[in-house]
Amino acid sequence: MPDSKQMTLTAAISRFVPDGASVAMGLAQEILIPFAAGHEIIRQNKKGLTLIGPISDILFDQIIGSGCVQKICAAWIGNVITGSAYNFRQAVENGEIRMEDHSNLTLATGLRAGAMGIPYMPTRSALGSDLFESNASLKRIICPFTGDTLTAVAAITPDVTVVHVQRADIFGNAHFWGNLGITREACLASKQIIITAEEIVSPEVISSDPNRVFTPGFRVSAVVHAPWGAHPSPAPGYYNRDHQAFVDYQQTSKTAVDYACWRSRWVDAVHGSDDYVKLMGKDRTNTLALTKGVYSEPVNYGY
């Protein structure tokens, strides 16, 4: 029997997200964004991180606002339903963070190259764009078969990928459902993987459906029980998106003072998911609960 990988969020972030690490997060784009893990990164005051992700939907803005970040490798950084994110804007405009500008496809291509263990992969995207100007990991190449001009995207291999999922066992085996985004690629390409999960379940639950496993458990470094760990983003099977929280964040992050106030309330004052759920309040958790269900038709893996 292998050893348990379950630990506290504090231990997982402390051990597997050193200062200066490249960290991939928010890989399924708008769902299952690992906010709880991101907030722990802020509480631990990490420095010099490179954040990797397609669209960050306020998580990156929050981490940038606390001064943890030196570089962003992403396609879109903002607040999906309101637009720009202020900490990010200011940090770039002040020259405090470096950018590696991707599109969603070039980022997916770079992570897929990392996952496949090859140093680059071509795409037909980005040609004619100025992404080449603000991203040295893109180069124009010629196809050896067709002569076509293509964009080569250098492999991206994060030091650590943080994924929030619905359920995991203590050995790192986990189920993910919903749109996957670039979750699979980022995990496969990554040196370490931290899983935060709505529920910790028995290994038999996970092994009942190996097709729903998104990355092999033997490569996972840490498993953390983090209910509501994706809030305010949605968690399929658990809770809906909290639109109001995204709207509120935009209002409460316009200035450094606003942000400090937001951080004090939603990050610094929180120690563990119990605190967080209490802070959310019953009305809010009730509003976000699923009201209409549809369960997957079972399949048989017998012999």
Partner: protein, 263 residues
């Protein structure tokens, strides 16, 4: 200057955003495969599916394919009703593969700056090394502009946004004119329409330059020219943008009951 959206008695008939969404939805043909972007396009697809294009298929960059409208209003493409009974939940790279292969008939993208050849900027105002304003970036827009069979731009029409030359090309249009896309290696596509708060523009098939094709009700040609940062071409057969029908409006309002996007 403004879009006529009230009756003489002051009752709201439609909002500018509703007119834009409706114009966008009408660009979707039945059976089309549409790569659906953030914000207004979410509604445009829902509207088209529920009216004239019941067999359109929606592809979403986060790894969703849908052949039905979402059963409840959604504000983002990752809202759970948009996953419910979808046709396919998959990897971003999988759905981007459909796009890159040339299987996507049309896409919609927004922009902060556009130029006369339809090049879009959603990244930097000023030099990218030390910008005066940092915008959110490409998301999937660059990919859609490069790889869809055609794409439609949806924008607020202001002089500071309609500029002679964009500061940074996030999403390529026709570059510097004829043959540019082919020359730099893009396999297909290009912008087909620009739907703005003032009118609808298309691109000349020879010069690839933007041409004003229709103005919204209550908007004059002069209004549009004043809001454009270069001497804008005007189509000889310029028309008024058709307004939403009552049916379109009532359908649309089911998908955005609180007017979050269209209020």
């Amino acid at each position: 200057m403004g879009i006529e959206k009230t009756t003489p008695s002051g009752q709201v008939l439609y909002t500018p955003a509703e007119l834009m969404v409706t114009a966008a939805a009408r660009e979707i043909h039945d059976g089309d495969v549409i790569f659906v972007g953030m914000r207004l396009p979410l509604l445009g697809f829902q509207l088209a599916k529920s009216t004239h294009a019941p067999n359109a298929v929606g592809v979403y960059e986060l790894g969703i394919v849908r052949d039905t409208a979402a059963p409840e209003p959604i504000l983002t493409m990752g809202d759970l009703p948009n996953l419910y009974r979808s046709q396919w939940l998959a990897d971003t790279a999988d759905v981007m593969g459909l796009l890159q292969q040339g299987l996507v008939d049309m896409s919609f993208i927004g922009g902060a700056q556009v130029d006369r050849f339809g090049n879009l900027n959603t990244s930097y105002i000023g030099p990218s090394g030390r910008p005066s304003t940092r915008l959110p970036g490409s998301g999937g827009a660059c990919d859609l502009a490069c790889l869809a069979k055609r794409h439609i731009i949806i924008m607020t029409h202001e002089k500071r946004r309609f500029v002679p030359k964009v500061d940074y090309i996030t999403s390529p249009g026709y570059g510097d004119g004829p043959n540019w896309r082919k020359r730099i290696g893009l396999p297909r596509g290009g912008p087909a329409r620009v739907i703005t708060t003032l009118g609808v523009l298309r691109f000349d098939s020879q010069s690839r330059e933007m041409v004003l094709a229709s103005t919204h009700p209550g908007v004059s040609i002069a209004d549009v020219l004043d809001s454009t940062g270069w001497p804008l071409l005007v189509a000889s057969d310029i028309q008024e943008t058709p307004v939403p029908t009552a049916d379109e409006l009532s359908t649309l309002r089911q998908f955005d009951p609180d007017g979050f996007w269209t209020g």
